[in-house]
């Protein structure tokens, strides 16, 4: 991507554009895991229960067939109306959700099925009972397990990728994001509450965290942005699902051709490389790693990306972010 000279950024327009992404990602009519699978997958069979404590409706798992490829799916599940959303805890899993996911991850490995995960959560449920049952332990264990799975793992950020509760099912060989998805270390409101000392500053926080799909791609956290239909996935869920299904199938075909050991090695390398830092060491102490260069490269990308926040790679579109 060439380093273009760009006009100065309109901060206000930028904030509006970013916030519109956040709102689209959270749109209640946006298709969630089961709706997406219902469109582009066949033979969807949900399985239930963590074998320890319960079955968590906020996180769904099972088998599905995508373009002829049999997979294990794992995904956050929000509701599309209030009652359903309450039942599904607004897509915020409890520890038993992550433990169910782990059971399915192990089953996928046991039977040589690739894994596809769908990420769409404000975060793991922060309720007191979830703390008692080890929310942090469940997330940490799920992350660790995913890093070692000897089967392909395709992850899609479909809506909100919120913090550790998202990452717990998002350690993939490849990480896709829908164009209007967002991915962040903490919710914009949470970030604003802590750093700006008011949730009112959520928009500034959203901008500062670079949470849009395009920026996440520039950071190397997301590998590929999948275009949504004009107006967002909720405007035309079927087209959105179809585009996503095709992208997933493509990635699955690529990954299933790779030896499982090579996959695990590459997955380790993928996450091992993420991070931006430099050293205070004098040049005399030896050749400096190209970490500084990587960081600068990322910053260049982000700077250049300021006017094309979340621009989808694979499909050219007319809609502009500041529209």
């Amino acid at each position: 991507m060439p380093d273009r000279a760009l006009p100065p950024v309109d901060e206000q327009a930028l904030a509006e554009a970013v916030w519109s992404r956040v709102q689209t990602a959270r749109n209640v009519r946006r298709p969630h895991t089961l709706e997406l699978l219902g469109t582009f997958a066949t033979e969807v069979r949900e399985l239930h229960g963590d074998r320890f404590f319960g079955d968590d409706p906020a996180l769904v798992c099972g088998f599905a067939t995508i373009d002829g490829i049999r997979v294990v799916f794992v995904g956050h599940q929000k509701g599309s109306e209030v009652q359903e959303n309450i039942r599904r805890n607004f897509g915020m899993p409890h520890p038993e959700g992550y433990r169910k996911a782990m059971r399915l991850f192990r089953m996928a490995e046991r039977f040589g099925l690739p894994v596809v995960t769908f990420v769409d959560t404000p975060g793991a449920s922060p309720d007191a009972a979830s703390e008692e049952r080890g929310q942090a332990e469940a997330i940490a264990s799920s992350i660790a397990l995913m890093t070692t799975l000897r089967t392909p793992v395709v992850t899609v950020i479909t809506g909100e990728g919120g913090s550790g509760g998202a990452l717990a099912i998002a350690v993939g060989d490849v990480v896709l994001a829908l164009e209007n998805a967002v991915y962040s270390v903490i919710s914009p409101e949470g970030c604003a509450s802590i750093l700006w000392r008011t949730p009112e500053a959520a928009r500034q926080a959203a901008v500062a965290m670079r949470l849009t799909a395009g920026e996440q791609q520039a950071l190397g956290v997301v590998d590929r942005v999948v275009a949504e239909p004009a107006g967002g996935a909720h405007a035309d869920p079927e087209t959105a699902a179809r585009l996503l299904g095709a992208a997933i199938a493509e990635e699955l075909r690529r990954l299933t051709a790779i030896d499982p050991d090579a996959l695990v090695t590459a997955r380790y390398a993928r996450y091992r490389a993420i991070g931006a830092y430099t050293t205070t060491a004098e040049p005399a102490r030896g050749p400096a790693p190209d970490r500084r260069r990587m960081t600068e490269r990322i910053r260049d990308l982000l700077r250049s990306g300021r006017t094309v926040v979340g621009q989808a790679e694979p499909v050219a579109r007319s809609e502009e972010v500041d529209g």
Binding site: Q135, M209, A276, T279
Partner: protein, 286 residues
């Protein structure tokens, strides 16, 4: 057999006649006395937080800690600005603490046993984990794997460092990946959770010890207590998210007072010996 645990003199030590009020019991404590009692209140047992250097002095055999990768420093990958720019926050933290970032790692011996030791420092930006902390934990784990020595990580952190965005979040994956390799290889990891260990640090490496040890009274949790209370609208259980609560719920093996920590660690390391590199596990696949 009691082990002597003298703190080495610190650059930044306060005048010896300073008083501190104990947040546990309200008692006024003389700083000098507090230092002698390992910064544990003699009246109520409250464990004051330790700086990384103090923690290392407490746990490592005298003179054995050799810091590694001390030269790693944070950059500002997002150009993050809130009321302050991130680089200014880092600079301020460096000036206040004398540390480069919120973790230090190195090789050391504990009771004569060589280990990889990584220690977090809550004084540096709330012990938040950005790329440098994640890298140091990972480097420590990778050294433990390569050298086949136990890994000890002492956590003290409010969670992931927001100013590094998802790059901070990805440190959860990076550190957990390194620990998963350690576990597969039969190299032990002891996680020592100190006050406070919350958010993304507890939800990654800190939770995954073969043995998890906590200091008494330490705050350990995923979400903030205010958030938890707000969610349920009910009163939180007594001692919520404290070390003893975690112990009761099965997430911590031992709650160990500071004075007994080193002896406990050394004793456990007598059992937690890395499996020889040759011993591979093959599946009983017929």
């Amino acid at each position: 057999m009691p082990i002597k645990l003298p703190f080495r003199p610190r650059r930044d030590s306060v005048p010896s006649d300073l008083w501190v009020q104990c947040p546990g019991c309200g008692e006024m404590l003389v700083e000098k006395q507090l230092e002698k009692s390992l910064r544990v209140c003699a009246k109520c047992g409250h464990h004051f937080r330790l700086r990384a250097s103090q923690r290392i002095a407490l746990l490592a055999d005298a003179g054995t800690f050799q810091e590694r990768d001390a030269e790693l420093v944070s950059v500002d990958p997002l150009g993050f600005v809130d009321s302050k720019a991130y680089p200014d926050r880092i600079a301020a933290a460096r000036a206040t603490t004398g540390a480069q970032d919120a973790a230090a790692w190195g090789t050391a011996e504990v009771g004569g046993i060589p280990v990889a030791l990584c220690v977090m420092d809550f004084a540096f930006m709330g012990g938040s984990m950005g790329s440098v902390v994640g890298e140091k934990v990972t480097l420590a784990a990778e050294h433990a794997l390569a050298a086949r020595v136990p890994l000890i990580v002492v956590s003290a952190s409010g969670g992931a460092r927001m100013q590094e965005g998802t790059l901070a979040l990805m440190q959860l994956a990076k550190t957990c990946a390194a620990l998963a390799r350690l576990a597969d290889a039969g190299v032990p990891f002891v996680s020592l959770l100190t006050d406070p260990t919350t958010g993304g640090v507890y939800a990654s490496f800190a939770a995954l010890g073969d043995v998890n040890i906590a200091e008494p009274g330490s705050l350990i949790g995923f979400a903030g207590a205010r958030v938890a209370a707000g969610t349920t609208g009910e009163a939180l259980p007594e001692g919520f998210q404290r070390a003893e609560f975690l112990f009761a719920h099965g997430f911590v093996d031992l709650v160990v007072p500071r004075a007994a920590l080193k002896e406990t660690l050394a004793g456990l390391l007598g059992y937690l010996r890395p499996r020889p590199a040759a011993a591979r596990r093959e599946a009983a696949d017929a």
